[in-house]
């Protein structure tokens, strides 16, 4: 059952978490991304908050990378499953849009794992112009995750999922996905 609410979900202030909440946050954060299972939800930066609201009742905030990302529903189910495994009887997942997710939210460890899995990580937004200015005008070097060459070419702004573009390495000839800056 999905309802749309305008009231804010549970706030997340790290200092305010109980030890139970910290444990549940850690468990939820370890859930792998359904589309890119090499990175966890915590590394992707989509887990926004958690709050135990009663005995066995917990509320979680997730934010989508892209508005229509179909993986969010799987994430909600996976988080729910994990938290129920940890003894929670009722799990409520809020989908929050604000503040908008940015590719800068991917952790350094997440970026390393993406590159290792053959997906070129997003470039920091600060290099590409003011935040929110959209696709960068200048083609800053994107490194081939296979051979490390910076001589790569954009094939299409859109690829296998909403959050990736398709490129090809001019050195080794391999095509690869690039996590888009947003």
């Amino acid at each position: 059952m999905v309802t749309v609410r305008t009231s804010p979900g549970p706030a997340l202030a790290p200092g305010e978490l109980s030890s139970l909440e910290e444990e549940l946050l850690r468990l939820a954060g370890e859930v792998p991304d359904p589309e890119l299972p090499v990175v966890s939800l915590a590394e992707l930066g989509v887990l926004r908050g958690i709050r135990v609201v009663g005995p066995g009742r917990v509320e979680v905030e997730l934010t989508p990378t892209w508005t229509a990302c179909p993986a969010l529903e799987s994430m909600a189910e996976d988080v729910s499953e994990v938290l129920k495994g940890a003894g929670m009887s009722e799990v409520t997942v809020h989908k929050v849009l604000s503040p908008a997710w940015s590719s800068d939210a991917i952790s350094a460890e997440g970026r390393r794992k993406l590159a290792e899995a053959g997906v070129a990580p997003p470039r920091p937004q600060t290099l590409g112009g003011p935040a929110g200015s959209g696709p960068v005008a200048v083609d800053l070097a994107i490194r081939c995750p296979h051979c490390g060459s910076t001589d790569t070419r954009l094939l299409s702004r859109f690829s296998s999922t909403a959050c990736k573009s398709l490129r090809r390495c001019e050195s080794c000839g391999e095509p690869f996905d690039h996590f888009k800056e947003v």
Partner: protein, 279 residues
Amino acid sequence: MTATEQTTTGPGTSERTASGHAPAAAGAATAGTSPAAGAAELSGAARAAARALGDDALVLAQRLGEWAGDAPVLEEDVALTNIALDLLGQARTLLSMTGDEDELAYLREEHEFHNVQLVEQPNGDFAVTIARQLYFSVYQELLYAALAARGGELAPLAAKAVKEVAYHRDHAEQWTLRLGDGTEESHRRMQQALDGLWRHTGELFAPLDGLGVDLPALHEEWRERVAAVVERATLTLPQGPDRTPWAAGAGRQGVHTESFGRLLAEMQYLHRAHPGASW
């Protein structure tokens, strides 16, 4: 205010298939990710305005989806359907703020949709689709930026979607340049497409009650941005009237062009034939 969608899974509702996906049945007891309706949050004119923008996104998503399996090259097949998916996400969020998204998409009649006529225009050849994308994405980027800056209920979605639409606009610009400054044939067709859709562009900037954004004030900036791309592409900005004489701005009043009925039939027949169908 923060727009949130809430998914609740109670005890015993987490059964899954072996593949790890939610069960196929649309039963009430399945894990809570079905896009069922939410409580309507907006009222009055603000609600009507959000619904009109949701209709724009939904109808264009449906049109772009028609290219699936049929685009000139594989990369464009993927690109156009990715853009359609982005628009569908925006539509779901907007329509859910005004009622049950499924009922709104599948059970309304033609005259109950308040999308602009531009988005319902048939795909035509690839140039027509690109011209429609150029006109609409430049408009939508300006609109969402204004909505995000204004604050209010639509701001969270607008602030997020404006970044996605920047990619749509970039895609349309690149293709306009390539087609306009390409071969004689691609130039001719791109110009024809820009000219043919021009009469549907004025409606984008008709005032929309309850939106809180001065749409007519965005018209000049839109014209300048579109003109800059069109000129770089060695094309000419159309000079004719930007409204249809018989129904200026009428999409917002529920008056649509002939092909819209067929689009709705395609979009709605499954749901109407099998109410509540799901997979």
